[in-house]
Symmetry: C2
Subunit: 430 residues, 2 copies
């Protein structure tokens, strides 16, 4: 449990009261949002995009404040680049909000309906979760995306962004909060936590009476901290230890192209492949060729004994290697005797993110898809396709490696739950 | 985190190894079960029912062992009665397994399907969760129900029943485990933890690498222990602080009948009403009448000032009263000035279980249903209808007061998740 739940320090007491005020206003806003019509939400999101476009100078000015402070935070050049806004990037942020507005509204969907013999009519209806606490690092565009996804799905959101982007995020949230009441929606549907005090995060994570879901987005240490401290459910994205399994019935040219793409097209992302499994029947033909291709692209390979025998320059893979998400130019390799052995390997070492099979044998891909325990199974396609945009799901607020509630890319639908609405005419139970 | 995760005591190390063996066998069984055909599962459940019927003498003999030990556990007469089996109750257990077999198989349902411009075909398919750890108290019929729900939904289950019913549960699980392999399903799909050592529970709750969901079923202290100790998600059923709100537009006779039924038909259950809210416009007419009816049935009423003025014999309700699930002959009462005030009261004090509105005004019931944060909204019907059987959902393994993953009665569908299966012809990302 959060150690900050009963503060005795008066300053901490004031911070707690401040945080509770934010959460209570979010809770009330959530009740209003649950009632919002689809057209209202769409019009509001369009107006938010327009407001952002109309405030390019103000947003750039705020961004300049963040950029000036960046050296003090010790940001890398790459991080500074992600932080930097310009006219084109702000246009991208506005267009992103409009893209969310085009998604189908999940709220109000009647998932099931049945009439019972006693005259009761039972409806299972999709409803917003309520209040989401979103903790994320740096990039200002995430602030706009998260606000848009929340409004579109009828949820109030409490944004806790990185301090590196504080001024930029504030300028964007100001645009959002001006527009919401113009469409009859509560401004407190979107709130930015305005204290740099890290204790605040602990306070929010203890408020399971007011907050329905916490979503951390950032490095694994952030996610572990939030998962261990939160009293409410946490949408977790742990590592992406993604596999490519080359079956005995694989088209080996396709297998090579997919392996190289899955590993090399962008190495630092969660849906890049980290481990290659090859069926023993095709390993002698396939492995040396693909190893040359990967090595030529700077990838270091480590393998089990059978793989090393086929590719002598390969180092030895430890058990830890098979568990590791390298997020860089390294890949583990194993030769497996059967499809079931590949599945067992993935179910043991994988992170339930994305796993691919390359095969021309339909019964093999069916068996793999059914038995492998992962969010996204790719059959004859690159692991890199697992993201909301590529799968046609739209803007995502995260990719879940959990199995309950939501799995894989999480967009507006994944920020909903359901309730049963049972209508009668005075029925009592006998 | 579980304090038992790194045992140093050799005996505890042996227990941990024993528990891990159970969980690893369950994990492997889950892979096999995920692949099981619907007809196989149905035939297996029918055969389990037959096996139970064929072993009435053995089950009764085991039950006699439990009954003989009952005084040693200090069981109340009511608890001994719930523990006691006879021919009719065993027939009920077998019929319950058959009822589960008649439910639609949730596994394999294609929830969504879309073809993308690049030729990828995306399917979102319903799949079992995997391994469920079920911790429950006493009654032997729960053992059979849980095993049947698990097999029907393609999940492996680890059963940790109350020690009071150990022999009876073992006799029932023996029937299940004999039948499973006869249908090509793994016996280890259903395992009964065979140690009375309570440390074992802590070991299982730490195994988030092997167990996907923990379900505690019993008193609130059991649920709190499991929720605080478990590293995997927990399906929680906390209290049922259920409300009846009598709107200004209520048919007051219907309101009286529903209030009396919701409170009095069976007082010790989670879907019984604990709190009555009455709109100020009808309070003077309604409250004294319903108070007489409730008092005549032995119910003690406590109320806010406005309610006390209308029913002078009513005691004063504290803030705690409004939060309390009495599970007995007591009810809190408040007069509210508006529907929104009723919603605010329920969202503040309720437990998100079941809340009813009595009204003839359709816009009022719609507003209430949308804005109240609860699993089951009853419109002009008794709260007592919230259970799996009454709502047409079938056998339930619990009722969730969580909002994520599953809400309300949890049957076979709620023990599933989904995976994306993406089929291509060699697509790579550009």
């Amino acid at each position: 449990m959060a150690k900050n739940s009963l503060p005795t320090d008066p300053a901490d007491g004031a911070l707690l009261a401040h945080c509770r005020g934010i959460a209570e206003r979010a809770r009330q806003a959530a009740v209003e949002l649950a009632d919002a019509q689809t057209n209202t939400k769409i019009a509001c999101l369009a107006a938010i995009a327009a407001e952002i476009r109309a405030h390019v100078p103000a947003i750039l000015k705020a961004n300049a404040v963040d950029l000036a402070a960046a050296p003090g935070f010790g940001l890398t050049d790459a991080a500074v680049d992600r932080l930097r806004l310009d006219q084109a990037r702000i246009e991208g942020i506005a267009a992103g909000v409009e893209a969310v507005a085009r998604l189908a509204d999940p709220v109000g969907e009647v998932i099931e309906r049945r009439a019972l013999p006693n005259g009761l009519e039972v409806q299972k209806v999709r409803v917003p979760l309520g209040v989401v606490f979103f903790i994320y690092e740096s990039r200002p565009n995430v602030t706009a995306d998260a606000a848009a996804v929340a409004v579109a799905s009828g949820n109030a959101i409490i944004l806790r962004g990185g301090k590196e982007a504080a001024a930029s995020s504030r300028a964007i949230v100001d645009c959002v909060r001006v527009v919401l009441p113009q469409h009859g929606l509560p401004a407190d549907a979107v709130q930015l936590v305005d204290t740099a005090d890290r204790t605040a995060v602990g306070h929010f994570l203890a408020m399971d009476d007011l907050i329905d879901l916490a979503i951390p987005r950032g490095g694994e240490s952030l996610i572990r901290r939030v998962a261990s401290e939160a009293r409410m459910p946490v949408l977790k994205h742990f590592s992406g230890n993604c596999h490519v399994y080359v079956d005995r019935a694989a088209d080996l040219e396709m297998a090579r192209d997919i392996t190289v793409n899955a590993k090399c097209q962008r190495m630092g992302v969660c849906n890049a492949a980290e481990s290659l499994l090859v069926h023993a029947d095709v390993a002698a033909e396939f492995l040396p060729k693909v190893a040359r291709e990967l090595t030529a692209r700077g990838v270091e390979l480590v393998g089990d004994v059978a793989a090393q025998q086929l590719v002598p320059e390969m180092g030895e893979a430890s058990d830890d290697d098979f568990r590791t998400e390298y997020l860089g130019p390294k890949m583990s390799v194993a030769v497996v005797d059967s499809l079931d052995a590949a599945v067992a390997h993935i179910n043991r070492y994988g992170s339930r993110h994305t796993d691919a099979i390359i095969t021309s044998d339909h019964s093999a891909s069916e068996r793999f898809a059914t038995r492998v325990d992962t969010a996204v199974v790719m059959v004859n396609a690159s692991t890199r396709f697992n993201d909301g945009g590529e799968l046609g799901i739209g803007a995502e607020i995260g990719i879940s490696t959990d199995k309950l509630h939501a799995r894989g890319p999480c967009g507006t639908r994944e920020l909903t739950t359901y309730k049963y609405i049972v209508s009668g005419s005075g029925q009592v139970r006998g």
